[in-house]
């Protein structure tokens, strides 16, 4: 008789297990596929600057320092959402931010920077998604953390949040800077 009852409890037990999996799944971003670029040298590129088409932006532009490379577009609501935070943290921690203006119109992008403020030291203009493909970009915004040797240390897909900045970026920035300092001495 006890066995009989157990049989009828099975469905609800399975359901409870599923709910637990779902609950955990809600906080895991399904689009977060580990980037194959992490720990690798950033792909080389050469693109005209957004503000000044005659000037070229390359991976050399951010060499020798710990920097952020932020993929954005004027049509992207997530980019507007993270903009203030990105500007603030970059200023507060002295991390230079470089931009990749992605699949965008030059005039719209410039207007956006004028309206929102420009935290970028330089912006590469990638209308045709040339660098986007090389760097494995699959949606804006995305933020790469690149160390002084040009190695990609971290990649964030989606808007920056204070938590992500605290937990994912700050410790890695500290480590990368330490290495830079030690490397400089030795």
């Amino acid at each position: 008789m006890q066995n009989m009852r157990l049989k009828f409890l099975l469905p609800i037990a399975a359901f409870v297990a599923l709910v637990v999996v779902f609950y955990n799944g809600l906080y895991e971003d399904p689009t977060r596929v580990p980037s194959p670029f992490i720990g690798k040298q950033a792909p080389a590129f050469e693109l005209p600057s957004l503000q000044n088409p005659a000037e070229m932006v390359t991976e050399e532009t951010f060499a020798g320092q710990v920097s952020l490379f932020n993929v954005w577009a004027s049509w992207c609501p997530g980019c507007a959402q993270e903009h203030a935070l990105l500007t603030a943290v970059a200023a507060q921690h002295g991390v230079p931010v470089y931009g990749l203006n992605w699949k965008d119109e030059r005039s719209a992008a410039l207007k956006w920077l004028q309206r929102m403020g420009n935290p970028y030291k330089a912006v590469a203009y990638d209308r045709e998604n040339i660098v986007g493909i090389d760097w494995g970009v699959y949606g804006a915004p995305e933020t790469f953390l690149i160390d002084s040797k040009g190695v990609i240390q971290y990649k964030l897909i989606g808007p920056m949040t204070p938590d992500i900045w605290q937990q994912e970026f700050l410790p890695r920035i500290a480590t990368a800077r330490e290495e830079l300092a030690n490397g400089g001495e030795g």
Binding site: M4, R5, F8, L9, P11, I12, F15, V16, L18, V19, V21, F22, Y23, N24, G25, L26, Y27, E28, D29, P30, T31, V33, P34
Partner: protein, 402 residues
């Protein structure tokens, strides 16, 4: 056919499977007072799956092309709703269902057995699809890393329970409640079986000129289901069977529809011809007896797009058959080029032409497809739905409680 979108399409499939099992199990509960607890579980399952679909798609927990936003707070709300509704139903089930068991018996060769097999096979199919759909969630939870599950899994996992199921449908339809002599059953089913096997072996070869084991098997199973469903109406016409009740007609129609869908799927997937080739104006291609002539392209202005329209003349033998005008559109707002295929739909086949890329000097890459019996897939579903409609109109469901 479009790519399969795991959470959306597969949840719909699971719902269909469990719903179908429910309809059949319900008949046993109604007529014989058996399977009460499994009918109840299937009913809860079918409803739960419709809620699960909402959760999987709208919460952003799985990647779907139909997901609007990955918003955890919306997900939490749907999950809480799911927990309360399904949790309380299953709790009630665990508490009360043990008292529902009946002790009426039935023999192995009886309608009860076949409906039980139907419920089991459909539930297995649904669980296998559920497993594939949720694997991207369960894998990381168990620490196996990320995974994505694609169409090959779903196709094979689906086919394994479905093949025996469709095979059994033809037999199950003619079984009696409680018990039946196997010899009598075999005698009844002799003719449908002979017709299905003979036609299934000969017809594909005659019509399409080629032969493969899996295709033959698919066609035989489809014809077997249709012939078996037509057995009682045929006997009625020859005066050998009693009156057909509305419920019987409903069942026969639904099963004919099932056979048609299986036939459509088998023939389309086995005999479709798809070619991708570069064509210059004046070039012709012959596909499955149809000749496609490319007469060049022209510009076209749409209301909100500009298009390049390809001109194709299709003829069959010497007879002109139709003209097809596929387009390559560029919408003014969203500048990605879209390919607008031209489709000539017919009872027996669809012809399909789409423009690819310009190859220069007036030449284009062109995709041409001939898809035989593809409409049977949808038409079979319509026939099944018609059967369902006739079924629910049965007066026996309109009886007032005394």
């Amino acid at each position: 056919m479009g790519p399969l979108d795991a959470p959306v399409d597969t949840t719909a499939w699971m719902f269909l499977m469990v719903g179908t099992a429910l309809i059949h199990s319900l008949a046993v509960t109604e007529k014989r007072g058996l399977f009460k607890s499994s009918t109840l579980l299937l009913a809860i399952g079918a409803f739960s799956l419709s809620l699960l679909g909402t959760f999987l798609v709208r919460s952003g927990v799985l990647v779907s092309v139909h997901a609007f936003a990955s918003d955890p707070s919306r997900g939490i709300f749907i999950l809480a709703f799911l927990g309360v509704v399904i949790g309380s139903s299953l709790g009630l089930y665990a508490w009360r269902a043990p008292s529902l068991e009946a002790s009426v018996g039935f023999k192995p060769c009886s309608r009860e057995t076949f409906i039980l097999a139907n419920s089991i096979l459909l539930s297995i199919a649904a669980l296998v699809i559920l497993g594939g759909t949720l694997a991207p969630l369960i894998y990381p939870a168990l620490g196996f890393g990320t995974i994505s599950v694609g169409e090959p899994y779903f196709e094979i996992a689906f086919l394994i329970p479905m093949l025996p199921l469709v095979l059994l449908v033809g037999v199950g339809m003619h079984t009696a409640w409680r018990s039946m002599e196997p010899a009598q059953l075999m005698k009844q089913l002799r003719w449908p079986a002979i017709i299905a096997v003979t036609a299934g072996v000969i017809l594909p070869y005659l019509v399409f000129g080629s032969f493969s084991l899996l295709t033959t098997l698919g066609v035989i199973i489809a014809l077997w289901t249709i012939c078996s469903a037509l057995l009682d109406p045929a006997r009625k016409i020859t005066g050998k069977a009693p009156r057909l009740t509305r419920g019987m007609v409903a069942m026969q129609l639904a099963h004919i529809g099932l056979g048609m869908t299986v036939l459509g799927i088998t023939v389309t997937s086995s005999y479709s011809v798809i070619t991708d080739e570069g064509m210059k104006p004046g070039d012709t291609r012959e596909i499955s007896g149809y000749t496609f002539r490319f007469d060049g392209v022209r510009d076209k202005q749409g209301p909100n797009y500009e298009a390049i329209q390809g001109l194709f003349t299709v003829s069959r033998g010497e007879q002109p058959y139709t003209e097809l005008r596929p387009e390559k559109r560029i919408y003014r707002v969203q500048t990605n080029p879209m390919s607008e295929a031209a489709i000539e739909a017919g009872w027996g086949k669809d012809l399909f032409v789409a423009l690819g890329e310009s190859l220069g000097a007036g030449a284009w890459s062109v995709r041409i497809q001939h898809r035989p019996l593809i409409r049977f897939i949808w038409f079979g579903c319509l026939v099944m739905a018609l059967g369902g409609l006739i079924g629910v109109s049965d007066p026996r469901y309109r009886k007032r409680a005394a």
